[in-house]
Structure formats: C-alpha cells, structure tokens
Symmetry: C2
C-alpha cells in the first residue's frame, strides 16, 4: 500500500508537520517522492515510524534514533553497534520500569491517604490513621 503524508498522519497520530520534520532530521530515509515532489509512504515506512515510536517511548532522542537508522543503512558491518544499542536500551528500560513501580507505590499511598482525607474532611486526621502510617513507612519516608 501507498499513503500520502496526510493518511500517514491519521494512521500514526503524528502531524504532517512532524513527519516532514522527522524526514528532515534523517529519520525517514526510505520515503519515496512522486515526480511532482509529493511524498509516498509505504508499509515499510509505517513500520519504521512504529520503531521510532518505540525508541522514543523508551527515552531515546531523535538523534540517537537517527544513529540507529544510519547504522542500519550502513549494512552488516554495524550489526555489533546496533546490538549494543538495544542492550543498553533494555538496561535503561529495566531501570525505568523499576522507577515507575516505586512511583506507583507512592501514588497509591497518596490515593489511599487522600481518599481517607476526603472522607474525614481533613488531611491531618487522615494522617493519624495507623494503616496509612504503616503504608507510608513502607513506601517513603516523608509527609506530603
């Protein structure tokens, strides 16, 4: 299948502006153009956009993503670099997920605390609840 920039924008949720910007930054080197200059996206290009979304989602910068795409274009001699990059991203992602789990515990504590506070009409009083105090101890050491 072939897609115009507008169709790709709808499909991916990115704007046409953003897609042109990505191309300008070297992230979409495989997109074709018609004789009159219009971009024509293939399913392969959509696949690249999904990969870009994944790498952005795990915290890579556009510059880092471009590096990967450049390595890809250089062919099999850059296989080790690409493997190394993915290994690093996995390590980074693992730390990120660990952090998010800790954050989730804090947020859950807050939800319990504020649910009780709303019920009692007072944050002060909710803080006196023994179970909440115990949860706070497990999760943090703070008081906000």
């Amino acid at each position: 299948m072939r897609y115009s920039i507008g169709q790709v924008a709808k499909k991916t949720g990115l704007t046409a502006h953003t897609l042109r910007y990505y191309e300008k930054e070297g992230l979409l080197p495989f997109v074709q153009k018609t004789g009159s200059g219009l971009r024509v996206f293939s399913d392969t290009d959509i696949g690249w956009l999904e990969m870009i979304e994944c790498l952005k989602g795990v915290g890579m910068s556009l510059k880092g993503i471009k590096q990967y795409i450049d390595w890809f274009r250089e062919g099999d001699e850059t296989l080790p670099q690409r493997l190394e990059m993915f290994l690093q991203q996995r390590a980074h992602l693992e730390k990120q997920m660990e952090q998010l789990n800790k954050h989730m515990a804090k947020i859950n504590y807050k939800i319990h605390l504020y649910t009780e506070a709303v019920r009692l009409g007072s944050l002060e009083k909710a803080h006196q609840n023994k179970e909440l105090q115990a949860e706070q101890q497990r999760v943090y050491g703070d008081m906000f």
Copy 2:
C-alpha cells in the same frame, strides 16, 4: 537538619541552578532564608523535592506539579482536587507501564535478532531463523 543549596544539590542530584529555578516557578514555597538571603532547606523541603521527582517521573509538567503544591497550600478544601489528580496520574501511569511492556517485547526481539545476526554476520540470514520469525509475529508486524 538544615541544608545549604549546595548540600541539597549533592543530596538530590539536581544543580543549584535548577533548585533556584524550581523555587522561582513556585515549586518550593516552604524553603526559608537567612537574614542575609541564603536559602536554608529543611528535611521537609527535601521531602517535597522527592515528591516533585516522583511526579516528574510519571510525566507531570512543572506547571501541573505547581498546581498540586498550590492546592496543598490552600488546605483541606482542595482535598477532592488532589485526590482526583492522583487518580488521573495512576491511570496515566498504568497506561505508561503497559506501553513500556510492549516496548520491552520489541526490544527483546531486536536483541535476539541482532545477537543471531552478529553470530551469522548477516541480518538477512538472521531473519530466516524460524524461531525469530515466530517471535516477530508475536511482537510486531514489521521488519526493522
């Protein structure tokens, strides 16, 4: 305990510049000053910084964090808003973690693929591995 801005910077990993910036943006309304204008951070302030780090970590903007701090300062009449905010953050965080799990599956596939590609000296050949093809089917529908 009392801390200078430099000590807090070391403790938190933020720079003194960033701490002043947070204060200017209204994120640290409880920090005291000496007669001569030096900031004096308390353990309570460190606690607020930890909360700020958590909220930033789950994707809140400084503006959103300031809103929470402002509500906190307004007292018990804003308890429902604060509860609502934390409920929204939890929902957001859940989606985020789900996304990260999907990203992790893709990254793991890439690691398997590139490990094999490095062994064989060819990405093309690695793609012919049936197990990798099956993993790819499970994880995506793409080829990058």
